[in-house]
């Protein structure tokens, strides 16, 4: 299990001791420094109420699963009570986790999950599926408005590779398998799933499917919904097992109804996924003169048959942050760097304060990787991009899973930091970036400290791209949650106002609920509510998530909803 009040396994931390430039940047942007310390509450001291579950239900669960797989202890309940959003960590660090599940159970098979769901329906307790606990939209948290007992169903014992069909290129995998477990099992047979979200180390196949996850090679492989061939989900009205068909014309796509359902219609227990022979990989860094030229490069590459597998363009602020994560080199390295800078300024006409790092990655056969790399880099050169070579690409690759630990560091030293992401069309990408970037700085600015508004574009498609903002500032002492809610709501509303989607890969949970009805519209909501009612007539599956309802406790999560939310919508 991950730590209670931070990312990663207990004891993991971001090593900032050898990165003076990082501290300099944090202080310049936010006013926080290494001396500011805001340590979390002691885990052992956090109290939780007695479980609400009745003795009969607990006995029945123990009879189904064995006593050792039914947990009622304080620690297990706390560790399964929240995900890892800023809001979650703020509450965890304060020692006020909110409602936690009454029971946590650990089934080992689809049959056991079906038994749990039947029991839940008969005894009217709520069930919340739990994978790795990395959710950052409140997806795994029991609603405080819920009168019924809550049983969280951890899929972590269901982590097997069930079968591999090498002829068809598919693997059937249990939903509780973590990213590294999946890759280890497949790599041993020469295959890869190729899904590497930022949460890869700690998240599961079932969680990816439930939230429409995106991995860093999505430009080649698509999002998780593009990789799924079929799946099994246990719903309160029975098991739905979709057919193993690449495509079909048999009505609405049931896979695409289940994917993204966030636990609200049942528990996904396994899926058959497209897998590939492992190939070679190469990553490359390119410095673009500005964000606009980087956007144009990504757009052009996304139209090519030879598109990269990964493209990730950082704005100037995120580029600067990335540079601070490298320990300072010796005098020789500094002299070389100065020479390169002078070249870029004088010969290539760069304004270095505007330069943007672009990571390009390719995965496949050696021949294909070589060809596609040459093609992408030629396009980059045509747009005055400066190649930083493989070392810059590999440096990014090596630290790609560390950013959540950097968030912990910032929180530990008095900072607020959160993210907002959405999909924009290529046409709208640049204007949306400029509008949100400027408005978020105005929102975050505190006296001499402008705040941090990093942005990257990643996950490119032919018609658009994911735009991802990371915003940070010093915490407003005594008004931490208000400060956060205001900034988060503003970022979402700026994106929606610019025609972007409500989320590209983080999903809805509680965090994006205030905008869901507006976003989907009345007929769309009728469809989604109709689906929910048909599959979960007793409303026992993750009540209150995804679709606003009485159980959503929106007044608690978004004080003033609906009147307050929306007030920040920029002109």
């Amino acid at each position: 299990m991950m730590a209670f009040s931070g990312w990663g396994y207990p004891g993991s931390a971001f090593d900032a001791s050898d990165k003076p430039a990082l501290w300099e940047l944090i202080h310049r942007k936010m006013g926080c420094g290494p001396a500011d310390r805001a340590p979390p509450a002691e885990f052992a001291a956090i109290q939780v109420p007695e479980p609400r579950a009745d003795a009969g239900s607990v006995a029945a669960l123990r009879a189904l699963l064995g006593g050792e797989h039914v947990a009622l202890d304080r620690e297990t309940r706390l560790l399964h009570g929240m995900g890892k959003s800023y809001r979650d960590l703020l509450r965890a660090r304060a020692g006020r986790p909110g409602r936690v599940p009454d029971v946590v159970v650990f089934p080992e098979s689809t049959v056991q999950v079906a038994d749990i769901v039947s029991l839940a329906r008969a005894r009217k307790f709520a069930i919340i599926p739990f994978g790795g606990g990395t959710n950052i939209v409140g997806g795994v948290e029991p609603s405080p408005a819920l009168a019924a007992p809550v049983v969280t169903v951890s899929l972590r014992r269901m982590n097997r590779l069930v079968s591999l069909d090498e002829v068809s290129g598919t693997a059937t995998i249990e939903a509780g398998a973590l990213g590294p477990e999946i890759e280890q099992a497949l790599n041993g047979r020469g295959y890869t799933l190729g899904h590497f979200p930022d949460s890869f180390l700690h998240s599961t196949l079932g969680g990816w499917l439930a939230t429409r996850s995106a991995g860093m090679q999505s430009d080649a492989r698509g999002k998780i919904e593009d990789m799924v061939v079929s799946l099994k989900i246990v719903t309160p009205v029975g098991m739905l097992a979709t057919r193993v068909a690449a495509r079909s014309a048999t009505g609405p796509d049931l896979n695409q109804i289940v994917v993204g359902s966030e636990g609200t219609v049942g528990i996904i227990t396994e899926a058959t996924m497209t897998v590939h022979r492992r190939g070679v990989q190469a990553y490359h860094g390119v410095l673009m003169p500005d964000f606009r030229s980087g956007v144009e490069l990504m757009r052009r590459c996304s139209r090519e048959d030879s598109a990269p597998s990964t493209m990730r363009l950082s704005n100037a602020e995120e580029t600067e942050l990335g540079l601070t994560l490298k320990p300072p080199g010796g005098p020789g390295a500094r002299a070389f760097k100065a020479m390169v800078k002078a070249y870029l300024r004088r010969v290539r006409g760069f304004n270095l304060g505007e330069a943007c790092l672009l990571i390009l990655g390719w995965e496949g056969s050696a021949g294909d990787v070589g060809r596609r790399r040459a093609r992408s880099l030629a396009i980059a050169r045509g747009l005055n991009g400066f190649s930083l070579g493989e070392s810059a690409g590999n440096a990014w690759f090596d630290r790609k899973y560390d950013y959540p630990l950097l968030r912990d560091l910032v929180m530990e030293h008095g900072g607020m930091v959160d993210v907002t992401e959405a999909t924009v069309t290529w046409r709208d990408a640049m204007a949306t970036y400029e509008r949100v970037h400027g408005a978020m700085h105005r929102e975050l600015c505190r006296e001499a400290f402008p705040g941090y508004v990093g942005c990257h574009l990643s996950h490119a498609y032919e018609t658009g791209v994911c735009i991802y903002f990371t915003f940070a500032a010093a915490r407003a002492k005594g008004a931490e949650m208000e400060q956060y809610l205001r900034a988060k709501a503003l970022s979402v509303e700026l994106l929606l106002g610019a025609g972007a989607s409500l989320s590209h890969h983080h999903s809805i949970g509680y965090e994006h609920l205030p905008w869901m009805e507006d976003y989907v519209g009345p007929a769309g909501m009728a469809a989604l509510r109709g689906l929910k009612a048909a599959l979960d007539p007793g409303n026992i599956c993750n009540p209150g998530k995804l679709l606003p309802s009485a159980e959503s406790a929106l007044g608690q999560y978004w004080p003033g909803y609906p009147a307050g939310v929306g007030a920040g919508r920029a002109p």
Copy 2:
């Protein structure tokens, strides 16, 4: 409008006069010849009952649309009463079309469609959307079990290119636009949608979306559901307009709920689609030693980054049919052909009776087409494929839209001919082919005539492929429909029994309804019925289609259902 009792515009016909080998094949397989004639009933003599629509509804429709866009005449109602399946044409040719719509209306805008749907809800008449009328699963036919009046809504006036976003590579197109209208509008701006189903000349964007259509370049572009970015559908509970986002994580995918809904939850009025700059195209024919090696070639190519845009493998019977469609050449051509045959037999070890034609096509930039072509042909050579060059590819390309006219010719001369298609995994493709091919021949064989069972694989994906059977025999006089139903049911059940899907791109309509509940399962049906009830609470949208219900009149379309259907399921 297409002709009443056949494919294509009135007067179009397949020219068989210069193809003696075609007649020879038809006679050898089915016992039919040019002298057998079974002309259709005279169109002018076919009677239809008075329209059931009440005067108030008709007056209201006329007020909404203008009198000239509300048709109650015999001819218009007949022409909008059926699609073009064998079952449809059998009834059309016999002059017994079954129930036809009571009114046919021609709206010109989404607003007018919304007005029609509101009126339908208030006055309780049923509505059926109608595009080009090419449906072959009974999708546009009013149910005879329906007491309510039926208003068919033709989208044919809504055929405009609304807008083109060249930066994002999307086009917004009205749902009633025919294939050639779409391509003409886009080609004029340098773009293409790239969706070319066999029905291309006569089918519409809305019909493609409603049925999950697949075009011949699907290996590169995907099916229509892969090309849609957003859409508008008018449902009885309001308009659902999905967002223009390449991907999102905002719950179940509403696009994928609407696509494939076959008119049962509303009327699709427009869609924003991914479009591409027009490139060059090349088609090539390859002769493979047998079906198995062709399957292996397609499977390998589907895993390549350099996959062709089109792959279509014919079995030996379909390959033989294809050869008969070329008028016989002079003595020189015949001598050259004999030489090639001798080479294939002696040097390459072909058994010519087993050889299978494979069409490969590439579309894109000239450089990409060249590179991908070289790669595909190298794989073909490695599997002992013999290149027939571009002329064989172009010959197929030139006649690709003519096969429905060949069906008309066979029907005119006393034959039964229909098709069945499904998706199989690569692992199952060969065994499924052999099983269905053998069993269908046993079913169709009449005395000395073995029947015709052509098969092709087309629409390849990484994990599987569409398998498409065309089966034909002489009509069983006096038991035409029974003969057809038996053969059709057998083919479907053989495919389902082999783990294939119920349809890859033809959809469900009435034709695949008997198997829908089994195929989707109880929880899947609960989801689909929940959606239907939520969006169409009055059941006014194409009642009885897609989801079995009292309005499906299954006893009429599938006599003996459910007991009879399933009896043919092979061991």
